[in-house]
Amino acid sequence: MNLLETKSLSIGYAQQNAPNKLLQRDISLSIQPGEIISLMGQNGVGKTTFVKTISGLIPELGGEVFYQNDNLKTLDSNTLAKRLSIVLTEKPYAQNLSVVELIAIGRHPYSGWMGTLSKKDQEIIDWAINETHINYLANYKLYELSDGQLQKVMIARALAQETDLIILDEPAAHLDLYNKIEVMMLLRDIARKGKGILISTHDMQISTQLSDKLWLFNFNEQVREGTPEDLILDGTLERTLYLHGYGYDMIYGTVNQPIESPALEVNLMGEEVVVYWTKQALKRNGIVVNSDAKIIIKCQKGHWSVIQENHAIDFNSINNLLISLRNFHQNKD
């Protein structure tokens, strides 16, 4: 069953007295239960417009949107609220609410006239709090939360809405790496329990690692869909995110620095972790790592030796290694 399906959907803005501003056409995509999908593309390519269109906030310019085989147009707002919940980048404007009160607002489509919570409503709220591991925050006011905590609370609110599909706009923006990973792992757990999750994001590294599929939006081009690895290997990701000027590293999923020529070339050996980080530092400094290079650097934790023509120099940090290599390269010129 498709949680969401778009058939030849065209999105953009209808304008009065002017031709419609079309952003994307012929989008035919679908989400299955258990899938986590990242929606990527440059600013202005129509990601937010797409999200607004499928959530019924703005009209489509053509095609159709289906939720579990029901056309979006035939769903009233309350039924749609039971199929789709969203987490936006905007913060709730009133901060003087407790976490539980906020999550309880997520029961809006189910609760009674006066917002009274039934036994079932209470159970679902409890479940949403447990699922997002925010029990310790339940009595906090929103203004007491950090950005990462607030994001988890907003996800709990979406869970309390009990929908099979959750759409999140930039859920990891403004978060530090730890919180970013925590939020993404949380979403992955939620998806594995049978919900569909669509994330609009710019975070290439995390989304290529954690998503089942990418939806790539490009200017003047058909929307592309596929597993992250396929899209990386056939170059679509690089083209979509406009990375060719910078060189997208196909193996590490990182962006390379432009390299000056002629560059210093070295070969790295040793402990895998140390090699990985040494390599990153060398790349940042315009030094090329090449297995045929004559200069060899042996890497161990806390110990680097540069070997050239049977002559070795030792270093105790990457910093010292870099200083020496830079001097060496300049002297050679």
């Binding site: 959530s55 019924g56 906030l57 707002s77 309350n78 039924t79 749609l80 609220a81 039971k82 789709l84 919940s85 969203i86 936006l88 905007e90 913060k91 709730p92 404007y93 009133a94 901060q95 003087n96 609410l97 539980v100 009160e101 906020l102 309880a104 607002i105 997520g106 809006h108 489509p109 609760s111 006239w113 006066m114 917002g115 919570l117 209470q122 709220i125 409890d126 709090i129 029990n135 339940a138 009595n139 006011k141 929103l142 203004y143 809405q161």
Partner: protein
């Protein structure tokens, strides 16, 4: 876990409500006992339970003056507080109040026209038996209703709530201008009559007028309680509210009509009482530290009633023959209080974050 949370919160709010109702009853007794003649507590009790104080003079004062005035104060306090609260939440603006949509300006224009043309209409009204006070009520009501119609029409067409706010402001400016023009061509006594109306008054309602006033305000307050749940979703922002299944245009229209009926009726009967509706919601949010409308709405109703009774008691302080204009009293005593709370708690920002 949530059960425990709901239980503690129920206990807390029950205590708060009991305390507030006690404050309300205290202010009610104080309000009807004080005035140009002070009536003792035991006499008040016997009046409330048996309908007489054994002093026919006092009975007359209580029945014809103090009781209607106290009832008016209660309803005006609750009504203005609620409409201020609704406007502040709908427009996400701490400066919004009952009159932000131009209700009082419309009423003012109606009254100005009635007073300044009343010179010509006066004879006709005397003949048809409609009193001067009803003329003002009808004029102010018609003015508010006109504004309500235009604003509701705009609300059904506009997506953006803030645009509505600006339309309301434009109404205020335009009707203010018309009133100035009318004043320019009027005689001094008419201008004075208009200025006195604009001071606001709680004491001008008799029982006949209360027969109309009480049911309208009670219906308005009851509907405001039903609007608490949608108002709560608006606390998250309009996009979230829509995603939660809220029909934004319909809800917005209901809120505007509710506010306009409450504020418009109060203005029609008592004149424009400005300060109270803007500050009472802030005061309630700050004192009770919540933005949850399921609690905030009943709190504002009871607290607004109690506070208006206290302000009215101050306005008719014993030993003074005249009653001070209620507008002046609410601002004079309310403003320092709000400043004090702000300096002490500093949490107004938590309720309004853009």
């Amino acid at each position: 876990m949530i059960q425990q949370f709901l239980e503690t919160s129920r206990q807390k709010w029950t205590r708060v409500f009991v305390a507030l109702v006690a404050l309300f009853l205290g202010s009610l007794l104080l309000n009807i006992s004080l005035g140009s003649v002070a009536i003792g507590f035991t006499d008040l009790m016997s009046f409330l339970f048996s309908g007489t104080t054994n002093n026919s003079g006092w009975d007359l004062i209580l029945k014809t003056f103090r009781l209607p005035k106290a009832i008016t104060a209660i309803l005006v306090g609750s009504a203005l507080g609620i409409s201020g609260l609704q406007m502040q939440t709908l427009f996400r603006n701490p400066l919004a109040g009952p009159y932000i949509l131009g209700i009082s300006s419309g009423a003012g224009l109606g009254v100005a026209i009635a007073i300044f043309l009343g010179f010509y209409l006066g004879g006709f009204l005397e003949l048809s038996g409609i009193g001067r006070s009803w003329l003002l009520v009808v004029a102010a009501g018609a003015g508010s209703l006109g504004v309500l119609l235009v604003v509701s029409l705009a609300a059904t067409r506009l997506k953006d709530s803030v645009t509505l706010l600006i339309i309301g402001l434009m109404f205020g400016a335009a009707s203010g201008a018309l009133v100035s023009i009318l004043q320019f061509f009027s005689q001094a006594e008419n201008i004075q009559a208009y200025v006195i109306w604009s001071f606001g008054s709680l004491g001008s309602l008799s029982w006949t007028e209360l027969h109309v006033f009480i049911p309208i305000i009670l219906i308005g307050l009851a509907s405001s309680i039903l609007l608490s749940k949608p108002l709560n979703t608006l606390l998250l922002g309009e996009n979230y509210a829509i995603s939660l299944g809220l029909n934004l245009k319909k809800t917005r229209l209901l809120i505007i009509i509710n506010t306009a009926v409450l504020a418009g009726t109060v203005t029609a009967f008592c004149g424009p009482i400005a300060f109270f509706g803007v500050t009472l919601p802030h005061l309630t949010r700050m004192l009770f530290n919540t933005s949850n409308h399921l609690f905030l709405t009943p709190l504002v109703i009871v607290f607004g009633a109690a506070l208006m009774l206290i302000f009215d008691t101050i306005a008719q302080l014993p030993g003074m023959e005249a009653t001070l204009p209620i507008n002046a009293v609410t601002a004079l005593f309310g403003a320092p209080f709000v400043i004090y709370i702000l300096l002490r708690k500093k949490n107004l920002n938590y309720s309004f974050k853009s």
